[in-house]
Amino acid sequence: MDNGLTISDRDGTLNLLIRIGRNWAILFLLLEVGFFSLTGTGYFSLRNFQNILVASTTVMLLATGQTFVIITGGIDLSVGFIVGFSGVICAKTMVGLDAAGVPQFLSIPIGIAVALIFGFVPGLVNGLLVAKLRVPAFIATFGMYGVAYGVAEIISGNVPVHNLPPAVGFIGNGYLLYYLPGRSSLFRLPPNLSPEELKQVVGLIPNVVMIALLLILVFAFVLAKTRFGQHTYAIGGNMEAAKRAGINVSRHLIKIYMISSFFAASAGIIYVMKFVTGRADAGSARMLDAVSAVVIGGASLFGGTGSIVGTVIGALIVACLEIGLVNLAIPTFNLYIAVGAILIFAVLVDQFFPEITYKK
C-alpha cells in the first residue's frame, strides 16, 4: 500500500449486498407503497399521503426521541404513556384557564408550555434512575410507563378531558396552505367561499406535520452534526471509552432521556390539538411502533448505530402499513402482528449480519 490513506478496494459483491441490506428499509417502503397503491382504492393520492403523514406524526415524534435513547444502548418504554400524561396536563390546563375566562390566545400557549415543562419530569426521573442509580433502562422506563399512566388517569379523573378552547382543533386540523387557483391563503381558508369553491380547496401540509417535521429536523441536525450527537454515538459504542475520554456520561444520559420525554410530551400536545381531547391512554399503543420504527430504520438495540432519517423511514413504513390495512378493510389489529414481526425481523438481521449496520 503506497498511499496508506486511501480506501482499500473491497469485494464488490459483498459491498452491494451490504448496501442493499443497509437500505432494505427504503426498498421495503417503496414496495409497500407500490403494493397498496395497486391493491387499494385512492391510496396513491395526495390526500391519502397527507393522511399517512398525519397518522405517522405521533410515531415519528416518539421514534425520534427513542432514536437518541437506543443509540446510547438504552430503551425508553415509558413514551407511550407520557403522551397521555402530558396530553392530559395540556388539556386540563387549557380547560381550567378557559373556564376562568382566560382568552384562548393565552390559554393555549400556557397549556402547551405547562405540558412541556411537566413532560420533562418523567424523562428526568428515567435519566436519574438509569445514569445515577444504575437501574437497567428497561426496568426504569417500564416502571415509569405505569406511573405516568396512573398519574394521567388521576389528573383526568378517569374520563377524557373535553371542552377545550375552539381554536385548539382549528390549529390541530388546519393546514399551512389552502390552495385554490388564484385564491390561496396561509393557515386559514380563503374568505367568502361559495360551497362549490369550498369543495375545491386543497389543504397542503397539515400544521401538525409541519410542527413535527420542524422538531425532527432540529434534532436530526443535533444528532448528525454536533458534539452532543457524536457523544451520543460514542456512549452507545463504548461507554467506558466515552468516560475515559472525559465525557460526562451520566449527565449526557439524563439529557437523552429528557429528549425522549420531550418528544413524547410534544406528541401528547399534538394529540390534544388534533383530537381536541385529552386522554390518559392516548399514546399507549404507539410505544411498539416507535421502537419498531427506530430499529427498522437501522438502529441497533445493542447501541452505537442509528439515524433520524432511518427512523423517519421506519415510522413511514408503519404508517403506510396502517393506512394500507384500513384502505383494504383489514382489521387494524393485524397491524400489531405485522409491526411486531417486522421488529423481530429487523433485530435478527442486525444480530446475524452486524456488518450491515456496523460498517460504513
Binding site: G4, L5, K225, R227, H231, N238, E240, K243, A245, Y358
Partner: protein
Amino acid sequence: MDPILEIRNLTKKFGGLTAVDDFNMHLSAGEVLGLLGDNGAGKSTVIKMISGVYPPTKGQIFFQGKEIKIQNPMDALNMGIETIYQDLALAENLNVYSNIFLGREKLKKYLGLFNILDHDYMLAESKTVLKGLDIEIPSLRNKIAMLSGGQRQAVAISRSIYWDAKLLIMDEPTAALGVAEQQKVLDLVRTLKTQNVPVIIISHQMHDVFSVADRLVVMRRGKKVGERIVKETNPDEVVGLIVGSVEG
C-alpha cells in the same frame, strides 16, 4: 534529571482490601518504565489512580514538579497524562479520526450560529499525527470495528500523542495482538522514547518489557518489592521478584 512523575506513599483500599500499599515510584523524561507483577499485584490500580479513574486513599502524586490532585479522567487528560487501556477504550462504532478527537472534538461555526463538528480539520490533523508515527491505516474514515488489534492500539497511541501527552501509560499494550503487530507496537514505544515522551508500560510479556524498558518496578500484593535497571538484570531475577522467590 528531575522526575516528570513522582509517587509517594500511594495507597488504595477497597473496603477491607488494600490493593496498593504505600507505593513509591518516579519517572524521568524519555524514560520507559516497566511496571511488573502477577495478577492482582496492584499494577492496574496504581495506573488508575494516576489516570484519575480511582481517587487514592492516601499518598501524593507529583507531576512536573508540582503536587497534583486528580479527581477524574478529564483532570488527568488536561494535565497531559494519557492512558491506553488493555481493553483499548475506543468507540468501535466511530471512525479513526473521531476516536482521536473523542471528548475533545474540534468544532466550527455553521451559519455563524451553531457549533458543528469540523470533520475536515479532524481528518487532516489525524493524518498528520499518524504519519509522524509511521502508522499505516487504510482510511481514517473507517470505523474502528474494521481495524486489526494492532491498528487499534496505534490509533489509541496516536490519540495520546496528538493531545500532547506529557506521560503515556500503557496497560498490556501487546496482550491481544499477533506477533507481527506486537513488534509494531513496541517499535512505536521506541519512537515515543526518541520523542522524549516518558512511558509507563504494564505487561505480562517479560520479553516485551526487556526489549523496550529502561527500568523495572516490580509489585507483589500491593507493595513495591523491587526496582532494577534493565541492563543490570535478567528475566530470571525479575520473575523471582514477581513470584517472591527473590528478595528486593
